[in-house]
């Protein structure tokens, strides 16, 4: 089997849907992300980037949320 590279949320293109495979964070950010529904297995759709390319808008659990790319980089995702 070919070992696949890990993929992170910040490079996902607008309009694509992915599944959360892991959150590489701790402390405050981790708790905040959990509270907002970033749990393993949840589906995320990338809606758009901000006009200045950062942050990005996502849809998770049927609501919209904005995340800076620096934080999106910590979220490991896999294709559906």
């Amino acid at each position: 089997m070919i070992k696949r590279e890990k993929k992170y949320l910040d490079i996902i293109k607008s309009g694509k849907k992915v599944k959360i495979a892991g959150v590489n964070s701790g402390g405050k950010l981790m708790h905040k992300l959990l509270d907002m529904g970033f749990i393993i297995g949840a589906t995320i759709e990338v809606i758009r980037e901000a006009p200045l390319f950062d942050p990005m808008e996502l849809r998770i659990h049927n609501y919209n949320i904005s995340l800076r790319k620096s934080e999106a980089r910590l979220i490991e995702v896999s294709d559906i």
Partner: protein, 822 residues
């Protein structure tokens, strides 16, 4: 009558405040939670023989201890032990909101769920079986719509019946499966606690690492932290799972079960109106123009429109002032009672601030609309990238705009609007940079200086002044976030973009009225207190007895001359006594002042009538028409009035010069002379700290020429001050950088909750201002720059600095660990 204490909880954007407004009406009380700057709204009302006290908790996504709002909300539940928790849930976004519901149910207190925005949910094709949710969760579920005013009665009844059936209440608990043994272990160890809270809930919170609960329990169980850590580690080693994310996942799964059993979304995947609107509003090329358009509209409506409104409100304030003048003790020739001076000073200080109330009201209404509609977070989304560079936050946009980022505003509402910024470092930086924005009250001061020194270049200078502020603010933000605020906590930018909603009229008006009231109440009281101090500093020690004697002699001389010339008039008898002359002078001045304040012919006639009625014999001297005998007196009394005013002005100036504030102005001269400021400018800066408007008045009165009455303040200043345009530029730069007024500093104190930061907010900008203006003044003198040149160089240098910081890639250390003491 029974008392019921209710806590209103819900996630942000669930429409909690519309439900709160619907239930409590306008009978609301706002205060801060002790020691923090989070609003605590309490509503008290009666329903069906029950007294209900409802507290609106801050909106929180969760009930852990990771944000100030969550700590406050939980603190309230623990300390106040409410009878019922009302959980407001956005029916159109039910799944995520149920996450909080499970956390509330776990607390072990009776919960009533309010499904708000049922109308929106229906429109979106979301069908909710509230009966089913009620059965599944064992609590009352009420369908409502705060915006439409539906469900009020049902909620009240649910609150009352829930509070009465505590005997039927059984503790709610989620089965956390593999975590259960660990929960049990912790629970057993705190079994003996005196806290009345649900022990299982506390045990779960301890395992979650909830600092608030751990602090409470630590008082009784000093080893609780170690115990929690052992259990968390044990759980991790057995199941390879992190407790916090395990619990979150479990709650989300539970919410998912409810969602699947009781909710049917017939439109899933379909585009909502919000999605369509966002395609335009957040469009890559359109977003910024739309944002600037909205900003411009807000500016036009509130600042420009509000200013027009003040044309109607100002006469009311002027009438109050005239009334105060009328009832104060009258002047006797050149002897003005201090009481009257003081009354005028106080009313002027108060009026200067109250004058802004119409502007604020419109402004606060528009902000409330933007908040309710849901544009605020979108604004943050669009601009975050720029602000992040300077240590600020997307949410800094609004405070900066209110402060006057676009031409003009007021720092007081600006600083107050920083409340919502989640990131502490960015919030502090915003609080400290908003005062650099263009304060509206500074504008007359700039106009005075520009009118005096930059007549042909006024437009370009005004452009420099109004756009320089945002660049200086960004530079200052960068400086303070990478120095003084470096160690402050920052929060991740994880922000919901809620669906758009129509605002409710009641909500908008209430929110605007509440904010205006805070402004009037908090700010005015303190400004008036400061005004008293400033008045004293300007009055004492007063003028010396020698100069008083000299002024008296001057007046006597004029009185003698007056007497000699009016002797030939047949009315001489009416003005042959000093007392009579004194009253006639007051009568004449009062008439002149009132006539100058009216522009309409009708008003002028009415004033004439009033004065005629009050004293017919004096009136003929003021309006002698064809009566030649009266004309003589008219001419002479005018002359005398002029002399008196000149003497009064000289006395005032001498008083200011000798006063404590004048001495302070002189004491600062050795420092300020490098910027070209003499003591008069220093006094103007010092005395206008209560309200910047008074800077113009102070300078005006110092520079007024005594000979030509009709000369305007700017002409007088250009002619009499001996300043060059370069001086004016230095003064303008200093004014740009100094904090607007004491009122702003008070709200800085309110928002930072610290006097230390308030002092910083005063002295840091002043230092910066004196350095910048000295640098410009000295370089300008050395290279013989013209005023416009000096301003251009100053402007160019700050723009270049800001752009350099903005474009320079920011690299910060974001790793930690490794060997200590390498």
């Amino acid at each position: 009558m029974k008392n019921i204490k209710v806590a209103l909880a819900g996630q942000p954007n669930c429409g909690k405040s519309t439900i709160f407004n619907m239930l409590s009406g306008i009978d609301q009380h706002i205060a801060n939670y002790p020691g923090v700057t989070v609003d605590k709204k309490t509503g008290r009302f009666k329903y069906d023989n029950h007294k209900i006290e409802m507290v609106d908790l801050p909106g929180t996504y969760s009930f852990s201890s990771y944000s100030l709002e969550e700590r406050v909300a939980k603190g309230f539940i623990i300390d106040e032990n409410p009878d019922v928790i009302v959980n407001v849930v956005d029916a159109s976004n039910i799944k995520r909101h149920l996450y909080l519901t499970f956390q509330l149910l776990e607390i072990g207190m009776p919960v009533v769920i309010v499904l708000n925005m049922m109308d929106v949910a229906q429109r979106r094709g979301i069908i909710i079986d509230s009966q089913r949710i009620s059965q599944l969760l064992g609590c009352k579920v009420i369908e409502a719509s705060g915006a439409k005013g539906l469900g009020s009665k049902e909620i009240m009844e649910a609150i009352i019946s829930t509070s009465q059936s505590t005997d039927k209440y059984e503790d709610f608990s989620i089965n956390y499966e593999e975590l259960e043994p660990h929960i049990k272990e912790v629970q057993d160890s705190i079994e003996t606690t005196k806290l009345t809270l649900n022990k299982r809930w506390m045990a779960i919170k301890v395992l979650e690492g909830d600092t608030t609960i751990i602090e409470y329990l630590k008082k009784e169980f000093s080893l609780i932290e170690e115990l929690a850590k052992t259990q968390v580690d044990k759980f991790h080693s057995i199941h390879d799972k992190d407790t916090a994310s395990f619990l979150a996942t479990f709650r989300y799964d539970s919410a998912d079960i409810i969602y699947h059993k009781a909710v049917k979304d017939t439109n899933i995947g379909k585009e909502t109106l919000t999605d369509k609107a966002d395609k335009i509003i957040l469009h890559r090329w359109l977003a910024l123009p739309i944002l600037f358009g909205i900003m411009f509209l807000i500016y036009e409506l509130s600042i420009v429109g509000g200013y027009k409104l003040t044309d109607y409100t100002w006469p009311i304030l002027a009438a109050v002032k005239n009334f105060v003048i009328d009832i104060s003790p009258q002047a006797y020739l050149t002897d003005i009672p201090m009481m009257s001076d003081f009354a005028v000073w106080m009313i002027n200080s108060a009026n200067a601030l109250i004058n802004y109330v119409p502007i604020f009201f419109i402004l606060f209404m528009l902000i409330a609309i933007m908040e309710d509609v849901g544009y605020m977070p979108r604004m943050a989304f669009i601009l975050d990238r720029i602000f992040k560079k300077f240590g600020l936050h997307g949410q800094s946009t609004l405070p900066l705009v209110l402060g006057g980022a676009m031409v003009g505003g007021c720092a007081v509402p600006g600083v107050m609007a920083t409340k919502g910024i989640a990131d502490d470092r960015a919030r502090m930086a915003t609080i400290l940079t908003v005062p650099y924005m263009n304060c509206l009250a500074k504008v007359p001061f700039y106009t005075l200086l520009l009118g005096a020194f930059f007549k042909p270049d006024m437009a370009i200078m005004m452009f420099f002044i109004s756009t320089a502020t945002i660049f200086t603010a960004l530079i200052v933000a960068k400086i303070i976030t990478s120095t003084f605020l470096k160690t402050r906590e920052t929060a991740p930018f994880v922000m919901e973009l809620p669906p758009y909603h129509l605002p409710t009229f009641k909500g908008v008006i209430l929110s605007a009225a509440q904010r205006v009231w805070i402004y009037i109440y908090k700010v005015l009281t303190i400004v008036l207190a400061v005004a008293v101090v400033l008045f004293a500093l300007l009055q004492f020690p007063g003028i010396s007895s020698e100069s008083q004697a000299a002024y008296d002699a001057e007046l006597s001389k004029s009185l003698v001359a007056f007497d000699k010339r009016v002797k030939k008039s047949k009315y001489y008898e009416e003005v042959d006594e000093k007392d009579e002359i004194a009253s006639l002078l007051n009568y004449y001045d009062s008439y002149r002042n009132k006539r100058m304040a009216t522009t309409s012919k009708k008003g002028a006639l009415a004033i004439d009538e009033d004065f005629k009625v009050s004293n017919e014999s004096f009136f003929k001297f003021i309006k002698p028409s064809r009566d030649n005998e009266a004309r003589i007196i008219n001419k002479e009394i005018r002359k005398l009035a002029k002399v008196r005013n000149k003497i009064l002005r000289n006395i005032k100036n001498e008083k200011v010069e000798n006063s404590l504030l004048g001495l302070a102005g002189k004491a600062f001269e050795p420092v300020t002379k490098y910027a070209g400021f003499d003591w008069k400018i220093n006094v103007a800066f010092l005395s206008s700290f209560a309200a910047r408007e008074s800077a113009v008045a102070t300078l005006g009165s110092i520079y007024e020429d005594n000979k030509v009455e009709s000369q305007r303040a700017e002409e007088a200043m250009a002619a009499n001050s001996g300043y060059t345009p370069l001086h004016a530029v230095a003064i303008i730069i200093f004014m740009l950088l100094t904090p607007p007024c004491i009122a702003t500093m008070i709200v800085v104190k309110m928002q930072t909750n610290s006097y230390k930061w308030m002092l910083f907010a005063i002295f840091f900008p002043i230092t910066l201002g004196i350095l910048a203006s000295s640098a410009v003044f000295m370089l300008g003198t050395f290279y013989a720059w013209s005023g416009v040149e000096a301003m251009t160089y100053f402007y160019a240098s700050i723009v270049v600095t800001a752009l350099t910081i903005g474009l320079f890639p920011s690299k910060s250390i974001n790793w930690r660990g490794g060997l200590r003491d390498v």
